[in-house]
């Protein structure tokens, strides 16, 4: 893909992933760090423009459309790839890391894709590589969760492909630009469905907590950053200003919060909060103003870091203790204090506390909603942000590191702060979360539009602090209500988990019924009738001719001693019957054949 000296960072990661299984010994870990750093370097020095255009059949495929929108996503994704890889240095399985890098390369491929064909190619690369991050956990549950993840994404990919094909058929253009969202046609809706499935918009979202909760410790750190944010990028590129995304985004924001209350598994709780946070971005894309799109990009940027940090923090607890359910944890502050502080910083960032990253990104979207007089959306998004603090800022740290100690003896003994490389990765992410919150030009200067936004006003700070601190008051007042219970919550995945079983049962019963009926009619009744028909056919034909003669001559026809009975008996006993039956059957078959042909 070198064209005009442009090097695709995804190509660096893919090549790195292919060589990775061959790298052994002391070189393995330095090599692990080198490849993502090279990819990040490629993004840093990348000038804007269009690169990597290849003719293929009758189309031009564009692998490198570089502008401000693609650069901000590529920057944070390659940066997160470095942090995620640093966090994963303990992973000895080179194929797990190779899968993670190819997955990131898939995201970068989508980010730089200039047309729908290249986008679709990398879209599928993402799904088929990331599923290994679930499977490599090697639990039976992971295997099934991985299959479900793959099936859902394959279905979404097909819908996307159908949309792309229909759009190309209708317009003759396969370029990936802003689509006509004011008068959307069927192809536009199909592409939208493909995108929002990856953005985890309810009811197409259940793959996310299902798979992320089952992924490997480091796999979840990668997965939480890329699929949904790539979808946000694709929406921002193609669907800015599509109004239906505003209610969908608000529903997402609230949906994730409601399920987080019920959730007992810390990583699934965080997964539900991805849905909630991506809801802000989707709503931002739907609002579609320059400030809103900037907000969506800024929030995606901040989100990748703080959500990565949260998954690293909770993942380190899982890595050290083997547990991620609140009902198996608690009171760990004395055993894992650093993991607590890092997770808390992630929690404060996602909750949009002043001086943390979420404060300068999330509020842009809410402010864009207020500016656009979408008061219901803005107030509901603010309500959801109270829920975010309630769970990720309070429930997660409290019930893992404080609260009732539910740890088994074994869990307690194993619990201690994770290895240095994990702490370092969390430290970098935590630093960036605070740095973004404190030094706003770092993030704001990267955003695609020049819309001015000032988060640090007295009013905004007071507003945020009141919402957050009074939410905290509510948390402690109703602490007992929030105590996690060892239960699971049914979600939309019920339909394809249980739907499969219902289908299987239905199919089984249906086939049984069909088989019995077929045996009854085709196997028994029909041959019997045909047999009778063939056997008695000649006799009946003869009777048709003879019967009028009998009536004329006055012979008794009916009854046990009647001529008809005697004739049939004689006919059946004679050799003539066999020959006549054969001839009759052949004639009937020939008539049938004549009509069929």
């Amino acid at each position: 893909m070198i064209n005009n000296l442009w090097l695709h960072p995804g190509l660096i990661l893919m090549a790195g992933a292919l060589i990775l299984p061959l790298v052994k010994g002391r070189l393995f870990r330095p090599y692990l760090l080198l490849v993502p750093v090279l990819a990040f370097g490629a993004v840093l020095q990348m000038p804007q423009g269009v690169y990597g255009v290849f003719p293929f059949l009758e189309w031009d495929l564009t692998f490198g459309r570089v502008d401000r929108l693609s650069l901000v996503f590529a920057y944070i994704m390659t940066l997160m790839c470095i942090i995620g890889t640093l966090y994963s240095l303990h992973v000895d399985n080179p194929f797990e890391m190779a899968a993670a890098w190819i997955y990131v390369a898939g995201s970068l491929g989508v980010i730089f894709a200039g047309d729908f064909l290249v986008l679709f190619l990398f879209w599928e690369v993402m799904a088929f590589s990331s599923v290994f991050l679930v499977w490599f956990r090697r639990r039976p549950e992971s295997l099934w969760a991985g299959f479900r993840y793959l099936m859902v994404h394959a279905a979404g990919g097909l819908v996307l492909l159908a949309g792309i094909a229909l759009l190309y058929h209708a317009t003759g253009d396969h370029g990936f630009h802003q689509l006509d969202v004011s008068r959307p046609t069927l192809p536009v809706y199909l592409i939208l469905v493909g995108f929002i499935l990856n953005a985890a918009v309810p009811p197409l979202h259940a793959w996310l907590p299902d798979a992320y909760g089952e992924a490997t410790v480091s796999g979840a750190v990668f997965m939480c950053a890329f699929t949904t944010k790539t979808a946000v990028y694709a929406l921002a590129r193609g669907f800015a200003g599509m109004e239906i995304l505003i209610p969908l985004g608000v529903v997402m924001a609230l949906y994730g919060v409601v399920y987080a209350v019920l959730e007992n598994d810390a990583r699934r709780l965080l997964a539900y909060h991805i849905i909630s946070q991506v809801g802000y971005m989707v709503a931002g894309v739907g609002i579609g103003t320059e400030l809103a799109i900037n907000g969506a990009c800024a929030h995606a940027f901040a989100h990748i870091l703080y959500k990565g940090l949260l998954f690293m923090g909770v993942g380190s607890v899982l890595y050290m203790t083997g547990k991620s359910r609140f009902t198996d944890l608690g009171g760990l502050y004395s055993r894992m204090p650093r993991a607590f502080v890092f997770t808390l910083i992630g929690g404060l960032s996602i909750s949009a506390f002043p001086l943390f990253s979420g404060f300068v990104s999330k509020s842009m979207i809410v402010a864009a909603g207020f500016d656009d007089h979408l008061y219901w959306a803005a107030f509901l998004l603010t309500l959801a942000s109270a829920g975010t603090f309630l769970h990720t800022g309070l429930k997660v740290p409290y019930f893992i590191w404080f609260g009732k100690n539910n740890c088994a003896k074994n869990t307690w003994e194993k619990a201690q702060d994770p290895p240095v490389h994990m702490q370092l990765a969390m430290g970098i992410a935590a630093f960036l979360c605070i740095f973004i919150g404190v030094h706003t030009p770092y993030l704001y200067d990267m955003l695609p539009y020049a819309a001015v936004y000032k988060p640090y006003t007295a009013y905004h700070i007071t507003e945020s602090l009141q919402i957050l601190l009074f939410t905290a008051l509510g948390f402690f007042v109703f602490l007992k209500k929030l105590t996690p219970k060892p239960v699971i919550s049914l979600d939309m995945d019920w339909f394809y988990r249980m739907g499969g079983r219902v289908f299987l049962l239905g199919a089984q019963r249906g086939m049984d019924y069909l088989s019995t009926r077929a045996q009854q009619y085709l196997g028994e009744a029909l041959p019997h009738r045909l047999n009778t028909f063939s056997q008695s056919g000649p006799a009946r034909l003869s009777l048709l001719l003879i019967r009028p003669l009998w009536y004329l001559t006055g012979v008794t026809v009916k009854g046990p001693d009647g001529a008809e009975k005697r004739f049939t008996d004689t006919f059946n006993r004679s050799l003539f019957t066999i020959g006549s039956t054969a001839v009759f059957t052949i004639i009937m078959l020939m008539i049938l054949l004549f009509f069929v042909t």
Partner: protein, 83 residues
């Protein structure tokens, strides 16, 4: 160091709670009395302590609505899918 700070605060839990309550009161008071609300987006935000009430109410609504939702048959035993 982190551990010392946590233990220090835990041993003075009552005092910590008192300080937190004072902070909440000061915050609501500041909003009601001193804050310049020219940047407010809507009229309701001019009510004293609007966002404090909003935050607390939001928290309560989220907890109770979610619990009610869970009781509709959404929450199941952990082995639900294994049966």
């Amino acid at each position: 160091m982190i551990l010392d700070l946590i233990e220090f605060l835990r041993h003075r839990l009552k005092r910590v709670i008192q300080v937190c309550c004072i902070i909440l009161a000061l915050l609501a008071g500041f909003d009601a009395l001193l804050l310049d609300k020219n940047k407010a987006h809507t009229a309701v935000e001019h009510l004293p302590g609007f966002w404090a009430v909003f935050g607390f109410t939001a928290c309560v609504v989220i907890i109770f609505v979610s619990k009610w939702f869970g009781r509709l048959g959404i929450t199941k035993q952990e082995d639900y899918y294994d049966q």
